[in-house]
Amino acid sequence: MTTYDRLVRILADEHQLAPEELQPEARLDELGIDSLSVMELLFKIEDAFHIQVPNDQVQLVTINDIVVYVDALIAQQAVALAHQAQS
């Protein structure tokens, strides 16, 4: 399952949205997902993807923005883990 598919599942469950509404280019604000909901979503993403989302402010406008952000964190943290394992 891709990051996008898993994200759609979380959003559909938490916000009672139909999966077909959750296209990659869909804007979060137009889906009724405000800044507080994004904060909650990032918390759930941490659990679902076993990653740590840093406290930095990031601009997440569309669903695809989240996918890109999460994929980058997964890659980053996988590299960090590999370095830890080697050292």
Binding site: Q16, L36, E40, F43
Partner: protein, 410 residues
């Protein structure tokens, strides 16, 4: 001075989640107190409490619900009921002239408790992102303002067990002063989780379980009283400027005429006759009301050894010999102590009782304490009473003492 009409009441309570259900329970002297089962309740010395009669309704959006503590959900449902009864024409209201005053003693205590469980018991650092929003004391008032779009004053009062009586009194003053035209005022509390209950247990104020009937564990004014029973719920009232209410032909449940606010500085927790009496005297004075006109008093009547004889003496000091002829009841015997929501629920009960010509009883009163010698309406409600003016007392740890007076609309 402008006058204040009460045109809507909403309740979530251990005696019912509608005003009709609440009145029915009061008339039947039915208790909402019970043994609390499951969860952590086994860790309590006396696992007894008065849970709400059912779950609150009215907020459908799960994303919003996740941001609301139980206390906030109670307050929103009570507001919805009160607004429905008042039939306020929202389209005709200037939202800047509508305010929300809510009292709560412990705010989102369950959410705070949940956070501590994660942090300390589970040794996890993953505190939920909405923890602050769930537990902040002003959450209930804020959500009510948000839901209805009221942009007038939005305040939260925390004066322990008199919080919501203060909220109602202060709301009435705002209308009288001309600052606003409509107020939603009341209180909410949801203290039935382990942390708050353990804290109250540690104060040695919780009643021991009645050997025969847990529902009868709270015994205000009785010789064998042993303390309070914690209850949960909310009560919210719609208050309006009198002439506007008349102009729109609203059904007026009462006029709020009296509000007495005094501070008892004798001790942090032990009440004094002077402090309690002064709140009642100030309420009578503000209502331009003779002591002789009070037909019913809903007492603070906690069922603690400390409060009940002091409140009895305070009532006698204010009303003189007539004190013996005024029915005085503690409905906490049935719905428990709702802490910050107690004042609003009990004033609502006094007004509902006045409209129903019913004197609510003090349940579980088999033998009065000799120091408590008034007419406490023991064990059975009295129907066919004629109540024109009612008083509700609310006293608090910290000393903020309040009496409210409601009069039949005329």
């Amino acid at each position: 001075m402008r006058r204040v009409a009460l045109t809507g009441i909403g309740v979530i309570s251990p005696l019912g989640n509608t005003v009709a259900a609440l009145l029915g329970s009061l008339a039947a002297a039915r208790s909402g107190v019970c043994r609390l089962e499951g969860g952590d309740y086994g860790r309590l010395a006396n696992p007894i409490g008065a849970p709400a009669a059912g779950e609150p309704v009215g907020v459908a959006d799960p994303a919003k619900l996740r941001m609301m503590d139980r206390a906030t959900r109670f307050a929103l449902d009570a507001s919805r009921q009160a607004m429905a009864q008042a039939e306020l024409p929202l389209a005709g209201l200037d939202p800047a002239r509508v305010g929300v005053f809510i009292g709560t003693g412990m705010g989102g205590a369950q959410s705070t408790d949940d956070g501590y469980r994660i942090l300390y018991a589970q040794q996890s650092d993953r505190i939920k992102p909405f923890s602050v929003l769930l537990s902040m004391n002003n959450a209930a008032a804020s959500w009510i303002g948000l839901e209805y779009g009221f942009t007038g004053p939005n305040l939260t009062f925390t004066t322990a067990c008199s919080s919501s009586a203060v909220a109602i009194g202060e709301a009435a003053l705002r209308i009288k002063s001309g600052a606003v035209d409509v107020m939603l005022a009341g209180g909410t509390e949801a203290p039935l989780s382990l942390g708050p209950m353990k804290a109250w247990e540690a104060m040695r104020t919780i009643a021991t379980e009645d050997a025969h009937d847990p529902a009868a564990s709270c015994k205000p004014f009785a010789k064998n009283r042993t303390g309070i029973i914690l209850g949960e719920g909310a009560a919210v009232l719609v208050l309006e400027e009198w002439e506007s209410a008349l102009a729109r032909d609203a059904h007026i449940l009462a006029e709020i005429t009296g509000y007495g606010l005094a501070t008892d500085v004798s001790h942090l927790t032990h009440p004094s006759v002077q402090g309690q009496a002064r709140a009642m005297q100030l309420a009578l004075a503000s209502a331009s009301c003779m002591a002789a006109s009070i037909d019913y008093i809903n007492a603070h009547g906690t069922g603690t050894p400390a409060n009940d004889p002091v409140e009895t003496a305070a009532i006698k000091q204010v009303f003189g010999h007539r004190a013996y002829h005024i029915p005085v009841s503690s409905t906490k015997s049935m719905h428990g102590h709702l802490l910050g929501a107690a004042g609003a629920l009990e004033f609502a009960i006094a007004v509902l009782a006045m409209n129903a010509d019913l004197v609510p009883p003090t349940a579980n009163l088999q033998q009065s304490d000799p120091a408590c010698d008034l007419d406490y309406v023991p064990n059975h409600a009295r129907a066919d009473a004629t109540l024109r003016t009612v008083m509700s007392n609310s006293f608090a740890f910290g000393g903020t003492s309040v009496a409210l007076i409601g009069q039949r609309a005329c």
